[in-house]
Symmetry: D2
Subunit: 458 residues, 4 copies
């Protein structure tokens, strides 16, 4: 049973051209003119792009005394409906260690995922056990380790732990990832605003200024450089952090930066909303920033100093948000975005001329596939690649609303934004898993774990 | 008569993988495992890469009262022997205008070229005639226009001429190229050193300091930004110029920078050589720089703020250099490099760990193919691409010497440099035109003009 | 007849201390405790500061087909009323050359000036005559030469003229000043907006974007560096220009930057005012900028990368502005500011905590006195210094309004701004020439020319 | 008994002028022409400058298992012989706390000092006790607190301790000082080189790369900014650290940077000396750097982004250095410089044209006096200022050598450097305490503690 996508324009990271795509089984079998197959998928007046990869999600993550409400089932289906065919989720070890946590994560993902997926493993402490477990994690097909410089008292690691882990990454051919905010200063500033009688969500932003993120980014880069390993900074939200990345790259250091679709389009004025719930729903770390930072992030994507657009999808319900009603420090940190990343980025990036279509593909899919060492299995339209494809219709449009989303969250931070450009069809390993206007349903268990081999060790 | 390249590792700008390559006629027909064809080309223990593209040559250029001695015949064959399968040469209009000059260039190239080729057209003045001719030049298949900010009194254009031409480029979908040095200041500094009694080649370097290049780069970028067109800076030799490019890119401007293999590896101490001829042979503009600038250029290639490595091949004989025996201003500006670019870049870039193999391919071929809008006909290893390929043997080595080069020049600025990594075979549109250790000969007239369509107009 | 200023706090560029100041004749005779004199000037609850020096005025300047309406009489009295005791005006040579123009300027100034004054001489062309005249101008007591990179077709000089003049400055021990905007590009952009049917004042701003100023600043600095002379950039209005200055200073180059009080406090939204006259009154070059640039300028004053706050006082009446009713290019460029510089800077700079009081004195008086080589005759509170002093009362306040100003212009660009901090008394060479609440009158002819010796030649 | 310094040229931070200086008692009584006094000090053909202030010494400091051999007696006399009339030494609290340590320091200084002196207090931990003691320290006349980000396991404080202390400084009107190197990474790198079998002094430099200093500088600045207090970075040795300072200043932050005379003139090649002792004698933190960093530091002094030149005088004998014969980590960190700072800075800075004479005075004396809030008692030539003066003879020269120095150390890191410019006379509070060519002797106990009031609290 072959399929052929006909009549479309292929948009890859490196070029744009008209071609049909023949799919046999789970893979692309041929790309060319006048191909035929058993089933025809109509791509006329549309673009065919590699399915999006969101390298930063927290589905059903236990965090801050609750668990992110977005499930693997709802989240991965929401992703597919928005053109994202693979997510990479963060495994957070508990007291039983990395391998137990991995098992726990697999238990959830295997049963529920509609899209393909992979994991990053968090290093939240340091010990001989962890040193050894990192090797086993790599053997399991995970080549990325996450480090939190914030969340003091829980996830945070200090500089010598980070250096030890980075050196271990170098030896294993793995890539360290970093949440870059200075946890000591965040904690002290949080206390300051509480003491000053400002317990509302606006103080969340006040206590995490851009300088605090820029500092940590700069520090993580120095430590990676000393350890002789590249480094990937997640959720780059501000010029300060971007500047540190650029400065390092200008010296030949291998540093990657990932802005989120939220920081590219939303700003800190949201936290001034008199409606507590409106503001609380937008509490995430780093917080939204002054609008000026957005220009920096967009330019970075165009210039190549930033490479990936992600979501940090960590979606809590309104009710969960009320945990922090009296104290912003207890508001579960996180917002959604998985479903909206690609339409919003297209609308605000490609339609405005900030990004070319090829850059759109690069930053939503190809670049991260290369960084994660799964290219061209993922992130490419090449013979032999997985047939994770989006037929992108630039004429389809909608107004984003919690009322019509696939996510099970009861609100949406992009509520009211009009997007032009949406998937007409989304294919995952050759199957049409989303078609606009049809009543598609999640296919829990269909998604597969994507193994990622380490890079050659340093 | 098909050919198959077997046993090698394909290195493209985006990935590295083992595959055979089947060639039918002039094009790549298939890439895969266990392919077979009428002829087998052995690539075992070797890399298969897209043929190099040198976007900056001056073959047989009339300049400074003489004509560059490297002919289209010798130059393009030298290129092939070094793994470069396409050159882009600069057409310099004389009093009869662009179209007459183009005809003249074609007269030389058509008869002699062994490799494929294309042209940039120089804009050395401004008039309604030129405005109209630019349109015809684009129709002819040329989408790039060169502007000289130096060479006062001959090639130099001033700011309003440049702005007019850049606007015209924007309207035509063409890309402006710029030789960026402040010609007024160069001329004044040249006079100063002559007046000071320093007529030797060292004064060539003194009179063209990096600041003079950085200034002009910065100015060209501003003018392009005002005209709403991207811009490509040729022969970026120094941090000052690179800084201007980075600064612009950080604001989202579309600016490209091209360092030369000479500036990446040779430095200004050459001009202090007590042997006049040694120094004079190295006179080019911009001159070689202090070693510190090299770090900046290498980092730019790794970071993506510089995209292309070229040669500015403008090769004059020792005898021609003596035109400036009494006055450095009369030394014909230019050096060779076409034959050595890829081996030297591999040795100093890839072997040292500064660049990955994929980046090597990107900066020698793929990036410029995209910039010139001829990708993936050129610069790619994809089905349908021209079979311009190099079987690169990292074990082959030699010491560069005028005594064993294909160039007809009587010296070589890289003399004595040991290179590791050379072509085992070079293929041009499917034919093996160079094979290491065989007595290959030039095939004048074999090379073809490569048409380049304009980009969508702004 | 001695005077003593009693009960105040002396604020100098380097310190703040309580002291009385004894004046004998035109000079400060002593500074200390419990001094007595024939007359007592009350400075209780007030600061005593060196009188302001405005190094950038155009009184009665013939320009753009009219003559600036602010006269030497009204302008210098307005200055005194605002705490400025010396102005430096620009002599613009006409067809009869520098010396004739100087005579013309002296004719006006000598008769009318209430405050002390000096001149900068403009170099608007290049010739052997000018080369020689520059020497005579220096002999006359003028050590600064102004260069316009804009106003194409009238005042503008090109790069080799500027380089020649800068070298001459180096030889004479004079300091070149530069109006930095790329005149070619401004002219072309002006034409573009006229052609596009936008003849209003908003197009004045559109046609002079910050990049055009940044470029010219960068170029002027390079040329000065090549000529071996420091350089002073007038009316630095934007981050782009400031960045070029910082970058040069970070390399050890001697570059000075002068923001205007207008650019520190007013922004480009003024040009969007639907009232043509409102916008036209604010037309000056460079134009007001986006608010973000203000942060850059204020930080530069604090960091020392910018040194002087001036006004570029070139005041035309509303009627004169109507010359450009149909074409923004004909609106006489210029606004007032001489009277308001110090109160506005105090209010927006010192009261907000951006500048210390010492920095206020530095940027309004001391720094420019040092740059102009008249320190400590001017710009200092030291025994022997001219008794040009302001008794600054931080409690005095007013709302700026054309209705109550000393300037004879019929509007004020700072209209409606509330200022706190104004002169209680202004002294010029020992005489009280302004006292708050008294009916002081101009004293035409009282002001004297201040000779400025050249610096040691390079 | 008055004294008059006659015939000299006064060089202050803001101007240069010819004048005599009358001294009565300990203070400057008058500055003017033709002054007379009981004793005449000849300053003909010489400059009169404020005595140098070295804000960074460690006399008799207990450190790394030994005690710096330079005593208060020898050190302060060496200072005077080189034109430095005041030192500020670091009090390092032991287990008995700040006040006990202060008493200990006073015990040594009071008895021995020939020059005036003051202290900085180190904060090496955090507790309520320290919070309170800081207040008492300020009451004692000390307005600066030092923080070590390196020396893990002994002096190092972490980020939240530093933030707490900085906030306390803000409340007290005190200025935090920082030794900026990332102690975690230094410790890890030290271990790495030991493990790699490189126990020699060269590994001292390898384990403290510039990036490690730049990172810590950047972090200290962020923490100070969050605490709302200025910050002073001691021994800025590299571009990375200077860049962080410049970047902060460009945003309006109040950050000061202090390069040492060693880093301005000596480079890392010293650690490659095959003579272990040669290299070990130069072991200090931060280590000497690649020569390129020197350009950055010199330019910073000229541009004002760096303000003070100090020595970090911590002088150990050759025998003490042998403590680290088998392990570079045990080599006592520190070199001398107190005696040589001013002659070396004059020779390499003023004679070469990098600094003006006024800048020389600013960076050796005036700037730090203002930063420490003791201006114009110290650092100025003004009536009423302490008569701490140097009659500087630009014709006096010598070759620096341990053989002829006042320091009691058996070597000198500037050995063999020829200096032009030395004190003819040094005066401390009106007394000639050093006269060139005379057999001056230390005057232990003559020096006095200089109280420094806090700044207005934030
Ligand atoms: Zn995070
Ligand atoms: Zn996250
Ligand atoms: Zn060129
Ligand atoms: Zn060229
Ligand atoms: Zn102007
Ligand atoms: Zn002006
Ligand atoms: Zn230290
Ligand atoms: Zn120290």
């Amino acid at each position: 049973m072959s399929k052929v996508i006909k009549g479309g324009t292929v948009v890859a990271a490196d070029r744009t051209y008209e071609a049909d795509i023949l799919i046999e089984g789970e893979r692309i079998a041929a790309i060319g003119q006048n191909l035929s197959g058993d089933t025809v998928i109509d791509a006329s007046d549309a673009y065919i792009m590699p399915g999006g990869i969101d390298p930063h999600t927290h589905l059903e993550m236990p965090f801050m005394g609750t668990t992110a409400a977005e499930t693997w089932e709802s989240g991965t289906f929401a992703a597919l409906s928005g053109g994202t065919t693979m997510v990479v989720d963060f495994v957070i070890p508990g007291p039983d260690g990395m391998l137990a946590a991995l098992e726990e994560w697999e238990g959830r993902a295997t049963r529920q995922a509609s899209s393909d997926y992979s994991y990053h493993m968090a290093v939240t402490d340091w010990s001989e056990q962890i040193f050894h477990d990192m090797g086993k994690v790599v053997d399991h097909g995970i080549n990325t380790f996450k480090h939190f410089m914030a969340y003091k008292g829980s996830l945070m690691v200090n500089d010598d732990e980070m250096f030890a882990s980075f050196q271990r990454c170098a030896a294993l051919g793995a890539l360290p990832l970093v949440h870059a905010e200075n946890g000591d200063i965040v904690a002290a500033l949080q206390q300051k605003y509480i003491d000053a009688g400002i317990p509302g969500p606006e103080a969340h932003a006040y206590s995490r200024p851009p300088e605090v993120e820029g500092e940590a980014t700069n520090r993580a880069i120095m430590i990676a450089d000393a350890a002789g390993v590249p480094v990937y900074i997640v959720h780059v939200s501000c010029e300060q952090s971007h500047e540190a990345i650029r400065r390092a790259r200008q010296k030949g250091m291998r540093v990657f930066g990932e802005p989120l679709i939220q920081h590219l389009t939303l700003d800190e004025s949201e936290y001034q909303n008199p409606d507590w719930m409106h503001a609380a729903r937008r509490v995430m770390s780093p917080p939204f920033r002054d609008k000026n930072h957005q220009d920096s992030l967009w330019a970075g994507l165009a210039a190549g100093s930033l490479q990936v657009v992600a979501t940090d999808h960590a979606a809590f319900t309104s009710e969960q948000k009320t945990l922090g009603l009296d104290d912003f420090r207890k508001i579960p940190n996180g917002t959604g975005g998985l479903e909206d990343r690609m339409p919003v980025l297209w609308t605000r990036g490609v339609e405005t001329g900030r990004l070319t279509m090829n850059e759109f593909v690069a930053v939503t899919s190809t670049n991260i596939a290369r960084i994660l060492n799964i290219y061209p299995q993922k992130g490419a339209i090449l013979p032999g690649s997985d047939a994770d494809l989006v037929v992108w219709d630039p004429k389809l449009s909608k107004t984003i609303s919690a009322g019509n989303q696939k996510s099970i969250i009861d609100y949406n931070v992009f509520e009211g934004i009009r997007v032009n450009g949406m998937p007409r069809y989304t294919l995952s390993r050759g199957d049409v898993v989303w078609s606009h206007g049809q009543n598609d349903q999640p296919q829990p268990g269909r998604g597969k774990f994507v193994k990622r081999r380490p890079f050659p060790a340093v």
